[in-house]
């Protein structure tokens, strides 16, 4: 069943993919840190969409769409336009490439990010496995 991106159902589906991935579990076994993924308004989106994901030692502990951004204060905040997120989800934009080209913006403890390139790669690999429907 396809899940609309971005949505609560989609981020939960990604959470399930991560928890089923042995490659992600290995690559992120030392990772501790939660995220806001912000999909900026534009294109089909009238307003920003905030997705929360808590990643802990190779597993996704919880994930959901946030209606009140003040409800969480995650360690990392990654934001980009809808068009660029779509490319990431489709595996067309490598997250490292997206960060270097300034299409993806990331705030948080860079010391931790620097140690986790393989985990980022496996996370994106899981994104591409989520059956996704993109609003026109």
């Amino acid at each position: 069943m396809a899940h609309r991106f971005p949505s609560d159902a989609w981020i939960k589906a990604l959470c399930a993919e991560l928890n089923a991935s042995e490659a992600y579990a290995n690559a992120a076994k030392n990772w501790e840190g939660d995220f806001y993924f912000i999909v900026e308004a534009g294109g089909p989106l009238e307003k920003d969409v905030w997705l929360y994901m808590d990643l802990w030692h190779g597993k996704c502990r919880e994930a959901f769409e946030v209606t009140d951004p003040a409800s969480k204060s995650p360690e990392f905040v990654m934001s980009a336009s809808y068009a660029d997120w779509k490319k990431v989800v489709l595996g067309e934009l490598d997250p490292i490439k997206g960060l270097i080209s300034r299409r993806l913006k990331l705030k948080g403890n860079m010391n931790k990010i620097m140690r986790a390139p393989q985990a980022a790669k496996e996370l994106v690999a899981c994104c591409t496995k989520v059956e996704t429907e993109f609003p026109a």
């Binding site: 490292i96 270097i100 300034r102 860079m110 010391n111 620097m114 140690r115 390139p117």
Partner: protein, 604 residues
């Protein structure tokens, strides 16, 4: 003249004569500065038959219009000459503080000709220059001589660029060192300096760069600084140094391992910037006007070194993954020795890695190596060989000539990984196929600093020039076009002179350049400057005997790797090179720009 100090110091070491000449405003607009301007001056001065280590090979130190200003990450200098390693164009680019200090002393550049009978050093202070005896400094290491010159001149604010033992002994792997361990001059610029018996150049002063519109310039510089501080690459580089790339590069198969024959090395994670931060890092170090501070100062207790400079990424790959060792402290010590003796870590490390490879292949024996047995994973023999190379001791005398000389000596010229004699840098063209063209056609052969396609295809784009990232294993005419554009861009950054690691958006670069120099240059004119500089360097190389046959990759880089992120990929040079020639407007029979292209670029 805005944006420039307006003066070049001409030094004739044979006659002991020093003379100021005005900087050509026409050359400045067409070639900007740095290695572009140096190439233009060398184009006038060159004697094509001159021995690279003879008095008739000029050695040119050059700054750029943004050096010594508040433009971030532009505190650099270039040093250029005909290379004794390749016989072709040689240039090196270093940060630190020497470049800005030369501007503060009142000069844009120094052209050194001739050769002194006795060792000398050059002191340039507050607009005045003098040659001083350096017999007592000859034999000193690069760190000691920087300090000794400052003490002798009674001025600790002087910035000193110097050679070490490797330069004195004319190794074509010798570099020039400033700011403790910041080096310039792959291809033997240190040997050219040594051949002139010029031990050091000390510079300093309190002049400032005249700016055409200081208010607008400083607003743009402030904005550029803020962008660079926010930039994720800046933050990664600050935390991990250039070594932060070890992990990322290894994922892509971009980090050469086991002398370019292995696509993956698990020990690399113990050589990474993160590993360094957890173990031997003392502090980050910065260059003039830098928003990043990627420099590493490390502590190496096993070797009794309290403060070493580096290692940076290229050193870690050359002495680490290439030798299959995860001994970070040992790798750092080898890099430290290179700094102290003034050796290029890429060429030195790779020549040594080649010896390890030949030892494994049974081409050389312990007897050939004065009793050493270099086994993969053991940094010990590499450290010993580095010492011997600097001192020209035993087999080190051969290694100090580079891997091509080693290969020829042992009768296996096809096995050494070099382009025209220059050891190939630490980005595998099987991981980023655009690098195959970069290495094969770079004016400084085998060079990653004159067209970093690995950065472009990692997302470091320049949309104003239509330069966009592509698939890293793509082999197409478009890849060739991008490789040429990237080279032109690096000709611009090596002219301005801007750090390669991070840069503000082009619009701000242009604003800073125009408000500094009083110009109205747009992105198109800047692109033409880059293309002009690239082609001028190519023409110099053709004068020195370069032919299309030199545009090649070594055999080992044309064999597929069995594992890792670059597995199975081989650059298709039969496809890429003709496409590259076509996009360049080069004549395939001569390998140079056609008369029409020269006219278009206004190259004499």
């Amino acid at each position: 003249m805005y944006g420039y100090m307006g003066r070049i110091l001409l030094v004739d070491l044979t006659a002991g004569r020093l003379e100021d000449i005005p900087l050509s405003a026409e050359y400045a607009r067409q070639y900007l500065g740095g290695s572009g301007l140096a190439a233009r001056y060398l184009y006038d001065l060159v004697d094509v038959h001159a021995d690279p280590l003879g008095p008739a090979n000029p050695l040119i130190f050059m700054t750029g219009p943004l050096v010594g200003t508040r433009a971030p990450s532009c505190g650099r200098f270039e040093v250029c000459a005909r290379s004794p390693l390749t016989g072709f164009w040689g240039e090196g680019n270093a940060g630190g503080f020497w470049g800005p200090a030369l501007r503060f002393a009142g000069y844009d550049g120094i052209i050194v000709q001739g050769a002194s009978e006795r060792p000398v050093y050059l002191l340039v202070r507050e607009g005045r220059a003098e040659l001083r005896d350096a017999a007592h400094l000859w034999g000193m290491d690069t760190y000691a001589v920087q300090q000794a010159v400052q003490q002798e001149a009674g001025d600790s604010s002087l910035k000193v660029a110097a050679i070490g033992l490797a330069g004195e002994k004319l190794s074509p792997l010798a570099v020039i060192v400033n700011a403790h361990g910041r080096t310039a001059g792959r291809g033997g610029m240190g040997a050219v300096m040594g051949s002139k018996r010029l031990k050091a150049i000390a510079v300093g002063g309190r002049q400032s760069v005249p700016l055409a519109d200081a208010d607008r310039f400083h607003r743009a510089a402030k904005e550029a600084l803020a962008i660079l501080q926010e930039d994720i690459s800046s933050q990664m580089l600050h935390l991990g140094g250039t070594a932060f790339y070890v992990d990322i590069g290894m994922l892509e198969g971009d980090v050469p391992s086991r002398y370019y024959t292995q696509g993956q090395f698990e020990g690399a994670e113990r050589l990474s910037g993160a590993a360094m931060a957890d173990t031997i890092l003392r502090r980050a170090r910065t260059c003039f006007g830098c928003a990043v501070a990627c420099g590493r100062e490390t502590r190496l207790p096993r070797f009794g070194v309290d403060a070493a400079d580096g290692p940076e990424y290229e050193t870690i790959a050359s002495y680490g993954t290439q030798l299959l060792t995860d001994d970070l402290e040992g790798v750092a010590y080898a890099g430290h020795l290179c700094n102290v003796y003034g050796l290029d870590t890429i060429s030195a490390g790779n020549t040594i890695a080649f010896v390890y490879y030949l030892f494994e292949q049974g081409v050389v024996s312990a007897q050939d190596l004065d009793g050493l047995e270099p086994h993969w994973g053991d940094i010990g023999p590499a450290i010993t060989l580095t010492e011997w190379m600097a001192r020209r001791q035993g087999i080190g005398g051969l290694l100090a000539q580079g891997s091509r000389a080693v290969a020829e000596h042992f009768g296996v010229p096809e096995l050494a990984v070099h382009v025209a004699g220059m050891e190939v840098a630490m980005h595998d063209p099987r991981a980023y196929t655009g690098m195959a063209l970069t290495y094969a056609t770079s004016p400084r052969p085998g060079c990653h600093m004159q067209g970093d396609m690995y950065m472009l295809d990692s997302g470091d784009e320049l949309p104003e020039w239509g330069m966009t990232a592509g698939a890293r294993d793509e082999q197409s005419a478009e890849k060739a076009r991008m490789a040429a554009l990237r080279q032109d861009w690096r000709c611009v950054t090596n002219a301005l002179i801007q750090c390669h690691l991070v840069h503000p958006p082009l619009e701000l670069v242009l604003t800073m350049l125009n408000t500094a120099a009083g110009w109205d240059m747009d992105a198109g004119e800047l692109r033409v400057c880059g293309e002009r500089i690239f082609n001028l360097k190519r023409l110099l190389n053709l004068r020195w005997g370069l032919t299309p046959a030199h545009d090649r990759l070594p055999k080992l880089l044309l064999q597929p790797l069995a594992e890792g992120g670059a597995a199975g990929v081989v650059p298709n040079m039969e496809l890429l090179l003709p496409a590259y020639y076509a996009t360049r407007g080069w004549d395939p029979s001569t390998g140079g720009p056609t008369p029409a292209k020269r006219m278009e670029l206004d190259i004499p």
